[in-house]
């Protein structure tokens, strides 16, 4: 301390200048280090996003370079007047709601089972994670094989066990195509819930359970009043993220049914793809993507709001 007191005025000046130079150097280094990430985000996220919104008000085609120019809301009108639009919205809703509900139920059940004092937790957790690490394209193709009406294992089981009279073409029939893909999507996605909910369950203090048990609360009551409230924050985030991830998932439906038969399993991402890559109508595809972006932004806004309200209360 004494040494600092005896520092002369000019020395303090150089010290200050040194500190300022250090700050400037840190700023430069930071800018340099962040530059690659910022450039990639600007080129491949920010620019395309602006481009989607711009193109949604313009005529644009993948094959006809002469189709350009501002056309106002015509692209949006194309989408809204498409007779497939409302059924597609409904399909997207059914697919998302059933998927997320099923995934949450299975994820919670498996997480609660894994959180019990059991032997071989790592083994069971590893096995339950298997569907989640297999690429969607490969999982989808192999489920087509399992659901095959002629030689498929599932139909054979259902007929042999007497649950069904004869095999059913699950993916090829209008009334079961979307539900079948939803079933497969639940199979593939629920392990993510398991892992997240398990981590939250293991963070619940054990003495809370012990105290409640001493007060005479049974396991079911303890689950409702202790476990579930502790899972609220994680559940909220899980569900909101998956509403978005599921609603915009292209892979499963494209691989398994390509939106068919007769658009019976077509959802918004498949419709975007078909407008762009099959009709080459970039404008209409952009209008649909812009509307979907609005939906995604709304979901995230509601999620933030819900989280903020939870923190306040």
């Amino acid at each position: 301390m004494a040494a600092i007191d005896t520092v002369s005025a000019p020395d303090r000046m150089t010290e200050k200048r040194f500190a300022a130079r250090r700050t400037a150097r840190i700023r430069r280094t930071a800018a340099l280090f962040l530059l690659p990430a910022a450039l990639l985000l600007a080129l491949l996220v920010a620019y395309p996003l602006a481009n989607v919104i711009y193109k949604s008000f313009n005529a644009a085609s993948l094959v006809d370079p002469t189709r350009v120019g501002f056309i106002g809301l015509d692209n949006y009108r194309t989408i809204l007047e498409d007779e497939n639009f409302l059924p597609t919205l409904w399909n997207t809703f059914v697919w998302t709601a059933l998927s997320v509900a099923g995934e949450y139920a299975l994820g919670l059940a498996s997480a609660v089972a894994l959180a019990q004092p059991i032997k071989g937790r790592a083994f069971f957790r590893g096995v339950i994670l298997i569907p989640w690490i297999i690429p969607i394209a490969i999982a989808g193709l192999n489920w087509i094989w399992l659901l095959n009406p002629d030689y498929g294992l599932i139909n054979s089981w259902l007929v042999k066990s007497g649950l069904m009279q004869q095999p059913h073409d699950w993916l090829g029939a209008i009334n079961t195509a979307l539900l079948s893909v939803t079933f497969v999507n639940i199979w593939r996605s629920f392990p993510f819930y398991t892992i997240s909910l398990l981590a939250a369950l293991q963070a619940v203090p054990a003495d809370l359970h012990e105290a409640a048990a001493l007060d005479g609360a049974g396991p079911i009551r303890r689950f409702w009043v202790i476990t579930l409230p502790h899972l609220k924050a994680v559940s909220l985030t899980l569900i909101f993220i998956h509403i978005v991830w599921t609603a915009i998932n292209f892979d499963f439906i494209w691989v398994m049914t390509a939106g068919g038969p007769l658009n019976a399993s077509e959802t918004v991402p498949v419709m975007i793809y078909k407008y762009a890559m099959q009709d080459y109508d970039v404008g209409a595809a952009s209008a649909l993507a812009a509307m979907a972006t609005g939906f995604v932004a709304t979901v995230f806004f509601v999620h933030r709001y819900a989280l903020a309200r939870r923190k306040d209360s």
Binding site: F33, A122, F124, I138, S196
Partner: protein, 281 residues
Amino acid sequence: MVETPRTRTLRAVLTYAALVAFSVYCIFPFAWMVDTALKPTAEIMSKDPTFWISSPTLANFAAVLVDSPFLVYFSNSLIVATASTIVTLIVSIFAGYVLSSWGRLPLAQIVGGAMVISQTIPGVLLLVPLYTLMQKLGLLSTYSALILVYCTFMIPLVTFMLKGFFDGIPHELEEAAEIDGCSTLGYIWRILLPLSAPGILATCVFAFIAAWNEFMFGYVLMNDDTRRTLTPGIMIFKGTHQTDWGHLTAASVLAVVPVAIAFVYLQKFLVEGLTAGAVKG
């Protein structure tokens, strides 16, 4: 806990029953895939399918490896996934270091915020502009197109995962290194990276699996058969009229092997990293 031995036994039985049921549910499609791959065609096309194989064969694997473009797709996926992992890692190490050490700088906060927002934008909504952009840049059907896209979509998550590991390293180490005359690069290379090596390895595996498994951009951006990656490539085994399920399942098994090995090896890290990085409650 106050529980009679009887209810405790009942609870254990129920728990194990549930876990076995979940395990069967998760594993039987995978088991059926391996099973079909090992069957001769006559047994695959059976009206009464069973897990029992009368005459197991490797013919499906041989056919896939020799008579199909499988190995081309496989090496394309390997190139794209490896390159994207390396580029993602390099870019994210620097970004993660800045966010961890100098997170209060306005610039760091802007880029960090942009990363959070970009994580919420689904790739499919940017599919069309990314396609036209790659078309304009002349990058369609090149490795660079996929590598660029995969990097951009992985950098935010990987950066935050790495920032988490870097945050765990005491700040005093950096000050000591600076006093001893160590440059920032020297500090990152000699101290930060070795100390967070296990976390970085796990992050690498995560990025690699994500790139290996990706389907949509590979399907749309790569139209040249010699550049096609594995996940879209495997769809050719599902013929338009008739599918050779033996070939398809054999190709599936081979495609899953690298992912499965990586996963078994680093399961614990992945589980922790995912819960810490992806879902912050």
